[in-house]
Subunit: 308 residues, 2 copies
């Protein structure tokens, strides 16, 4: 099964209570690709980078089965750069610098070789670019998943509403779900958001896990309790990559399989936060992933028959 991933490939500079990095590789599509490529090949990447994006990173992605035909390289501009500082709770952060650079020119093109892909993951981007990608697909993918953020709710709500009608699964965090719906209760928020288009809604709650809503059903996946969250940057994108990677691998878009995909995404995200940037994601093996998934089983498993 083939998967298209659209999003940023960028540089980040990160400060956490545990340390500080200079410019390291980041970007939503980078994290999604590193996570998803554990499950499905090829991952067909659509992004834009500047002259400064490292060739070794491109090579590393290629070696994992990530196709880069859809990645524009702009010779006279720099890559998108974000810098931020996390607070002690790691759930809140201050943006220090946002240099859009090449992102100002991003006009995503779906290469001919990407057509007929069955799965489409739209990372957080200007909703009009997300729409453009969907419109270029000659055959509608079997499943379209999108991420977004509060910024677009504030500056591009009509376009966001339009793309929401075109997708199957929306992934947002709890504060974004509240802002998008105008509801504080996440259960009520989910109902409102599903009226806007997506049949499935995933609400990410960081260290408090994630909720999957579908019709009147709800599934909850915890986050793994960790001794240390070293750097949460990219954890949400890694979650998305594990989720869509599992779905694309299995080709099964049932609610039950989405539950499994959320556990896979949560497992991948729990690795991501162990080191700065996507570093840890490059090291892990299938055995590591299987072991981590087993930890999720142990974490929530109880013998219900004996309760009654």
């Amino acid at each position: 099964m083939s998967l298209i991933v659209v999003g940023t490939m960028a540089f980040d500079a990160i400060e956490t209570p545990f340390g500080k990095t200079d410019r390291i590789v980041g970007g939503s599509a980078t994290y999604v690709a590193y996570a998803a490529s554990n499950f499905v090949k090829p991952v067909k990447q659509i992004s834009i980078v500047g002259y400064d994006f490292p060739q070794e990173e491109m090579d590393s992605l290629k070696s994992r089965g990530v196709e880069l035909a859809g990645v524009d390289v702009i010779k006279d501009k720099k890559s998108f750069f974000w810098s931020g500082r996390y607070h002690l709770d790691m759930n809140t952060r201050d943006t220090l610098v946002t240099d859009l650079n090449v992102l100002l020119d991003f006009d995503p093109k779906v290469p001919e070789s990407y057509q007929e892909s069955e799965f489409l993951m739209l990372g957080n981007l200007d909703p009009k670019l997300q729409i453009k990608v969907i419109q270029q697909m000659k055959t509608r993918p079997k499943l379209i998943v999108m991420d977004t953020m509060n910024f677009w709710m504030e500056v591009a709500m009509p376009q966001l509403e339009e793309v929401l009608k075109m997708v199957d699964v929306l992934m947002v965090n709890d504060s974004e779900a509240r802002e998008l719906s105008g509801q504080f209760s996440l259960v009520k928020a989910a109902k409102e958001i599903m009226k806007m288009g997506p049949k499935y809604l995933i609400i990410k709650k960081g260290e408090h896990g994630a909720l999957l809503f579908y019709e009147d059903q709800v599934f909850f996946a915890p986050a793994l309790p960790l001794e240390e969250v070293f750097d949460p940057t990219g954890a949400g994108d890694t979650f998305a990559g594990g989720f869509i990677g599992h779905i694309a691998k299995t080709g099964d878009i049932s609610f039950n399989n989405m539950k499994r995909a959320i556990i896979v995404g949560s497992a991948l995200a729990s690795f991501c936060v162990e080191k700065f940037g996507p570093e840890r994601l490059k090291e892990i093996t299938q055995k590591d992933i299987d072991g981590r998934i087993q930890q999720f089983v142990d974490l929530v498993n109880f013998d219900i028959e004996l309760v009654k």
Copy 2:
């Protein structure tokens, strides 16, 4: 199996974003008793009230199998009174009034008829009173569970450390676990706290569920995603009551049974928040409880074999 519950029986006045009550019945031991009496009879209550505590409430408890031989009634003093206002997120609240009244005289006595009880639930109280109760037990209960709060960490840490050495299970919320241990990570906090005495630690995270730690194992129970949390007062005590009620009913103090007990406690707590005070707890039937427990199963259940 018999259960002793020690704690307050009191009045609360509550303001939430959804409404406001005059003085209604509350208190940790009240909530524990209403919850636990669904599973085990008798519940042997130890508390203190003033002349103003309603006879109909005493009768209601008695009719559910709650013994009141250990409840002192002070004829010339008022019952403990607390008043608070919740913020929109319902996880934070401001205390408006605390009138200790009879609580200043509380000197818990274990009646002879309570001796030989196998289970002891110590609600949040001055740790020196918690110690007094344990010391009066001629036979050490099979399981001693205690609750506490940050106030005692600030004014009575040596006594709190002493009682921690005497109990099996400590229940605290996340901020209390952090304060008690000096660790921000809950995993690290749990390790530190288990060194202080309790073999089991339950960290309550309100709407984000609860964690159970034992040796190097951890179990997570979610809170049920609710459309509305009407009044969270007493939810923690109700959780405790469901937990110890299930343990006392089954007589099984294994880690696996504690997992089930936490699900039962979470189910009971999810009812508690649906109305002001313990009102909802008085209405629910065994069928309601079974249905709610099934919702917890559905909430976290996934078919892991198919993930790999």
